[in-house]
Symmetry: C2
Subunit: 376 residues, 2 copies
């Protein structure tokens, strides 16, 4: 009996904890909602798999209409290609000989594989490796929107584009500009201004590429926090949204077009279940989810079941968390299960090997988090 | 060709990054040092595997003289038993039917298996399950040293001990008292006072057990931060140290008996290697290790290679980190590898699937982190 067969049909409240559960209906809604929303605005989706680390979800995004999938690392790309996915974009530079060699191995399986470049020496190196194998690697120029993380400055982008365009082993396709630092700005207006400020400069680079006769087929960027904003950039071709699928308290707490306090368009599909393992105090209990189950980042996880105003999760070491009650008459008993929205979904997902998929309160599937731990 | 065969003998600087490396000699030193230190003081070691999550290291600890291994979760105990280890202590309460059933399955393989109890109803439940299977489960009373995480209060410990002792399916062995909250107090003197304060109260409970004729064979507790202190408690039988094996910046930064600023007895055996993937700025570079490779907890990771005073790591999202230089003339080139001591070893180890084991700068082994992700 496989693990999936063992858990099929059981109530989500009977699952061994801590574990991650996905409400299938909400996930399906979120995938469709983002796809339809952007398609209506004339944009494509190239969702980022770094959030869910799950080829099954990536497949659903493709089936819904996404034109490709983004990943952060070569090992993630390998995982997706192994699972049958194609049109993968690696959104960070690939610089070492070993990784470049693996990249070119992958290119044989995924002819549309793309990688970003932010440095002329790196472009030369990729070119030499590609020429040696008589292949052409698809490349985007990565632009730095003032973050200083990866990317070339707007001023130097055209020059780098020209260098890449001249290299016979590289196939220039356009640009990437991802402004990660603006995604969680709480105020929708401030976030709009910041994001449009950077993307307008990137769009100007894109137009320079066109004017100079450089290939400019793709201008990819944006994220879940700015998708409702960035579609206004005419040059932007596709959006690299990721967290909209699963959501977390960090994203739920930012303002949106509809609500200045809350981002409601994409309800949380992902939650974590955890069990009370110690209950010797009046105001709080200890649960079995600590640093190793809920990644310590992105604010505070939210208790959604039992639904009580003011209950508060607190990390208490590697293995434990606390639930603090709001009132003296409130309690949880030993063995009771609580449900939490995690604070930052991406690194939390990366702590687990599988999602339990839930419909009508029961397990209907088990999806491997097959890119889990693929940080190389 | 296995992965181990592929990497055997190569320089650690040629490894694909990010990755965790262990200096075999330092690990061996740390394991021996702690064992000898405590044995000379008449104490036993029951090291905690939650730190390294690696049955190979647990095995080395046993070979060096440890009397058993601690784990936090049932799934970790299963992993160790599967790897051939015995005498496992689960240091958190096990409360659900499903986990109790697995615990009793394990007891058939490890007759010395122990679990802690901090609640009479939980003790009853364990007893019923054990009686139903006609086995006796070894149990310690978990005492709460003012942390409020798990454990019964000192005042109620004797009463719970008496309840457990009367239950035919449980075999009371003694007490556990782990004061996690004092392990990282920077001042050695303050830490000494705090730890001895709690453990003296636990020792009083232990003496009550003896006076009342309750089994009091084991009094286990302590951690890496207080091992140099807690041996002074005559009743303490064994110490649950974990981090001394690998070490991290959080522990290296606390004062010790020899040095008020630094904990030098156990040098860092564990480091993380990461590669520069973007280098477009004068004062800093971007490396391939972010939240998903270095757990965001326990302070700041320390750059140890290249050895430059004042270089500073900064988390920059899920996939990236920055190295900030101290001087304008300093730099790192694209593709260069840096070595870091991680900030908090336990949850960082839990992000990886294996340790590369290094001797004289070359890979001599690959140890699976076989308890990785076992948070249930």
């Amino acid at each position: 009996m496989t693990k999936k067969e063992k858990v099929y049909g059981i109530s989500k409240w009977a699952l061994d904890t801590p574990c991650l559960v996905i409400e299938e209906e909400i996930l399906g809604h979120n995938i469709k909602e983002m796809q339809n929303y952007l398609n209506k605005l004339g944009k494509q989706l190239r969702p980022h798999a770094k959030t869910h680390k799950c080829s099954r979800i990536a497949q659903k995004q493709i089936e819904a209409g996404a034109i490709g999938i983004c990943v952060a690392k070569v090992s993630e790309a390998e995982g997706l290609v192994k699972a049958g996915l194609r049109n993968i974009l690696i959104t960070s530079p690939v610089v070492t000989d070993y990784k470049i060699s693996r990249l070119l191995d992958l290119l044989l399986l995924d002819r549309e594989l793309m990688v970003v470049v932010d440095n002329a020496a790196n472009a030369q190196k990729l070119n030499e490796a590609a020429c040696q194998r008589s292949v052409r690697l698809n490349v985007l120029i990565d632009l730095d929107p003032g973050m200083g993380r990866t990317g070339v400055s707007f001023e130097q982008a055209l020059a780098l584009g020209k260098i890449v365009h001249r290299l016979p082993g590289l196939n220039l396709k356009g640009i990437q500009c991802y402004a990660g630092q603006v995604q969680h700005i709480p105020s929708f207006n401030e976030r709009s201004q910041a994001s449009l400020n950077w993307l307008k400069q990137a769009a100007e680079v894109f137009r320079q590429f066109q004017k100079e006769g450089l290939p400019a087929e793709i201008f990819t960027g944006s994220g879940t926090g700015t998708a409702e904003i960035d579609w206004q950039i005419p040059e932007l071709t596709d959006l690299q949204v990721g967290s909209y699928t699963l959501m977390d308290t960090e994203y739920l707490g930012i303002g949106s077009a509809e609500d200045p306090q809350r981002f409601k368009k994409f309800p949380p599909a992902l939650t974590l279940l955890s069990t009370v393992i110690s209950a010797n105090h009046p105001g709080f209990v200890t649960i079995d989810a600590g640093l190793k189950s809920i990644y310590h980042h992105g604010g505070i996880p939210q208790v959604v079941f039992p639904a009580n105003e003011g209950w508060r999760y607190e990390w208490r070491g590697d293995e434990h968390g606390m639930i603090h009650f709001a009132g003296a008459d409130q309690k949880l008993k030993l063995g009771e299960v609580v449900e939490l929205i995690v604070s930052h979904c991406d690194p939390t997902v990366n702590l687990f090997d599988e999602f339990y998929v839930i419909r009508d309160g029961r397990v209907i599937d088990l999806w491997p988090i097959d890119l889990r731990g693929k940080c190389q």
